[in-house]
Assembly symmetry: C2
Homo-oligomer: 372 residues x 2
């Protein structure tokens, strides 16, 4: 059995998502929940239909609130440690769908404070710069400017710090140590930081001066922070935020590799040129055999193929087309090169459109960003 480790600051190994649900104590997304979303909104995003969002806490409670006519707000975030890659965008795409489907206000946190205290190599100017760069990607995804508030912890610190203190007073080092695995060498900025990550779960209630349910779509690695948020919420007079949690987009370099800015070929970044993106995809890890002859006989293995995973998770929403790709791969009818080209065209199409909207976003920051 492969070892794996998932914390907000480190994801390692080949992740067994069912086991993660057990470890973290969350609930699996089941067909009943998906049907309930369908009956409420008439459509279900492929990220939910395919259970890329596979885990939750109290998502059913959020739906009950909505069914009773109560509005809920969304909260998600980004740690601005570098440029945005497709793995970061995955939960944002789903968040945008939720905003549209349920008409939600969205609070989008950029944790420039966290990434600064976490990363020896990042200066505060770096994380502030990446807050700006990442905000362009968020805006480019098409969130509703009337209902979306993007802020960085540092530029919204006057509001954030005051409320973070209220969280911090209720969280002991012992709890933080147990939840995050801190030790004596952890710096006191990182120890405090989880208080800042709790605050946006309460901001909708604070700003509207009434208790508002909040749903947090995010990758599963953020769950530890929100366990703390949920622990303190009711003591502070708010609802516990509900969570809906996604798997990770795999590294293009295959299993046991991580997508990261320090490994440029592991991920496709939103600022990559079409040429760069194509090259990364053409070099990606697949489930193909070592020779074309062997593959024609034995077929490929889509279950370990990053190309197939990118199509499944983000780029081929049509189930029939996807099944046909899988069938042709396994039967040896299709070679990896063609599959790579198929994905590359989809990725390049996305990148070109995204980069246009990203460029336009430079003049639209005021519509979305708040500070104090």
């Amino acid at each position: 059995m492969t070892e794996f480790k998932v914390t907000p600051w480190n994801v390692e190994g080949d992740i067994d998502y069912n086991k993660l649900i057990e470890q973290f104590g969350t609930q699996p997304i089941d067909d009943k929940l998906i049907d309930r979303v369908k009956s409420l909104t008439g459509e279900v995003h492929p990220l939910l239909r395919r259970k890329i969002f596979f885990s939750h806490r109290d998502f059913d409670w959020i739906l009950s609130k909505y069914e009773k006519g109560e509005e809920f707000a969304l909260y998600t975030g980004r740690g601005p440690s570098g440029h945005t890659h497709l793995g970061h965008i995955l939960p944002w795409i789903f968040t945008k769908y939720l905003q549209d489907a349920f008409g939600c206000e969205l609070w989008f946190q950029l944790t420039d404070d966290e990434k600064f205290v976490l990363s020896p190599q990042l200066s505060i100017e770096d994380t502030i710069k990446y807050s700006y760069e990442n905000a362009l990607d968020i805006i480019a995804l098409g969130f509703d400017p009337k209902k979306t508030r993007i802020f960085s912890d540092i530029s919204y610190a006057k509001t954030m710090y005051k409320h973070a203190l209220q969280v911090a007073k209720k969280v002991t080092f012992s709890t933080a140590k147990a939840v995050f695995g801190f030790d004596n060498s952890t710096n006191i900025g990182l120890i405090f930081f989880t208080s800042m990550q709790s605050v946006p779960a309460f901001l909708p209630s604070i700003m509207h001066k009434k208790k508002i349910p909040v749903l947090i779509p995010s990758a599963i690695d953020q769950d530890p922070h929100f366990r703390i948020t949920r622990d303190v919420a009711e003591k502070m007079g708010y609802y516990k935020p509900a969570l809906i949690q996604s798997m990770f987009l795999p590294s293009l370099e295959g299993p046991n590799s991580k997508m990261s800015a320090s490994k440029q070929n592991s991920a496709i970044f939103t600022v990559d040129t079409p040429k760069q993106a194509r090259k990364k995809i053409m070099n990606a890890f697949t489930g193909g055999c070592s020779t074309l002859e062997e593959q024609r006989v034995k077929g490929g293995d889509p279950t370990v193929c990053t190309i197939y995973q990118y199509l499944y998770i983000l780029f081929e929403h049509d189930d029939e087309k996807l099944n046909e790709i899988k069938r042709r791969c396994m039967s040896g009818e299709e070679m990896c090169g063609n599959c790579k080209k198929y994905l590359a065209e989809k990725v390049v199409t996305f990148l070109k459109a995204h980069q246009e909207r990203r460029e336009a976003a430079k003049d639209r920051l005021d519509e979305f960003m708040i500070s104090d």
Copy 2:
């Protein structure tokens, strides 16, 4: 030997100040230093002459800088956990003298964040309210509005938090634990807080965009915070702040009692009426004997007398008069009642004038307070 304990959050027992200098690793204020101040400013405040300010770190370096024509800034603070008492005012009086004598800019921090995370019984509204109340006392002491900036951590959080992160990144839990005695039950707000207390030592340099020496007058219990500040200062490109540190004004209830807002008779508060102040003084612990007859024969003991200590530390600047009071006490010529009345008149005179200026300060907050 009496046990004692001095931390920023707890002062207990009968303090041996010489031993504290050893424990903390600070330097004693000696006559040479006092003479040097005299030769620079022509006057020496009684709090320095009498070595109530008894300890320092690099105060000699500050004087050398000044002798070379370099300006230095002052930084002191207050934890707004309640109303101001005379013990709080002691270092502020000395700070005002330093501002006048050396022409210094002063940064005055109100740690409403610290007191909130520290005290189970205080709400954030409480500590914000006391920030305001305490600021009135600070202004009433006559600081130069052109050279004085008073701020609370919460209302100046946007500036403070950003710089506190830079400190926090350089301080491990291990260091904080060793310096403050934190344990697993300490909340993560208090663990982080020392970063906020470091920032004003760097604000003069940050605001004027050049390295400015800073002197911190405070009671000795704040030394642990500034050990951390001094540890990180040079790594951050600033001078280590220098410190000049005072003893505590004793409790009116005698040795082994603490001045605190929860024991109203232990201290004279700036908002006490003349009647309340007189009553507290008339009930204070003295060095007198149990009967008048016995005292006439044996004499009193000024070394344990709170009345004598109040005169020595704050209210009788005339050495000759003070010596005469001591002589008459020890010889049995004077009874405690008269001494108490003598102090009471001085305290009431101070309080009346202070309260007038404190009232006027309500219209002067804008001259002193900064926020972001």
